[in-house]
Amino acid sequence: EAGVTQSPTHLIKTRGQQATLRCSPISGHTSVYWYQQALGLGLQFLLWYDEGEERNRGNFPPRFSGRQFPNYSSELNVNALELEDSALYLCASSSTGLAGVTGQFFGPGTRLTVL
């Protein structure tokens, strides 16, 4: 069974640009979660999508946004990039409503570097 996949592996942008990160969940999973892992800040929850809707949002500005497609894959968009957005962005998936029971399954991440 294929795990969670993310693309691209690495992304280099300059300040002010926009970045788009993509995630495909495990087959059968309908919930997708996004996390930011920045140096010294640990893993911080960004967004949670389930059945195409945003269910919860972390403490991030509106320039962090995303969506979930009918096939349950997801996209994270970061507008007006700032240097401090440089981080590893992790995507995770779970079956709907079962994240507390089964846990979330993580992809390998996208390393975003903002110059």
Binding site: G100, V101, G103, F106
Partner: protein
């Protein structure tokens, strides 16, 4: 509200000696608790989970954790460390209510020396 505190940012052990990674949590509701491991340049892997069943939870690679409600702790242990255990470990809490999400601790780096 939920939170989790990993008491050590780094733990160093010798190969073959026991491992103890400490975690305390805070939760207003009945929590689910997890330990994840992250090897260098890899994603996060679920080690084990507690979801209100047995308080002693066994996970992969010989790790186990004990849920102690009175102490609000969920420490991770392994009887004998292996070199391949060197990685960063995250304690995670989730309140079982509504659209609650996972809250991660800041991580403990486990260093294993020969």
């Amino acid at each position: 509200a939920q939170s989790v505190t990993q008491l050590d940012s780094h733990v160093s052990v010798s190969e073959g000696t026991p491992v103890l990674l400490r975690c305390n949590y805070s939760s207003s509701y009945s929590p689910s608790l997890f330990w994840y491991v992250q090897h260098p340049n890899k994603g996060l892997q679920l080690l084990l989970k507690y979801t209100s069943a047995a308080t002693l939870v066994k996970g992969i690679n010989g790790f186990e954790a004990e849920f102690k409600k009175s102490e609000t702790s969920f420490h991770l242990t392994k009887p004998s460390a292996h070199m391949s255990d060197a990685a960063e470990y995250f304690c995670v809490v989730r309140e079982d209510t509504g659209y609650s999400t996972l809250t991660f601790g800041k991580g403990t780096m486990l260093l294993v020396s020969p």
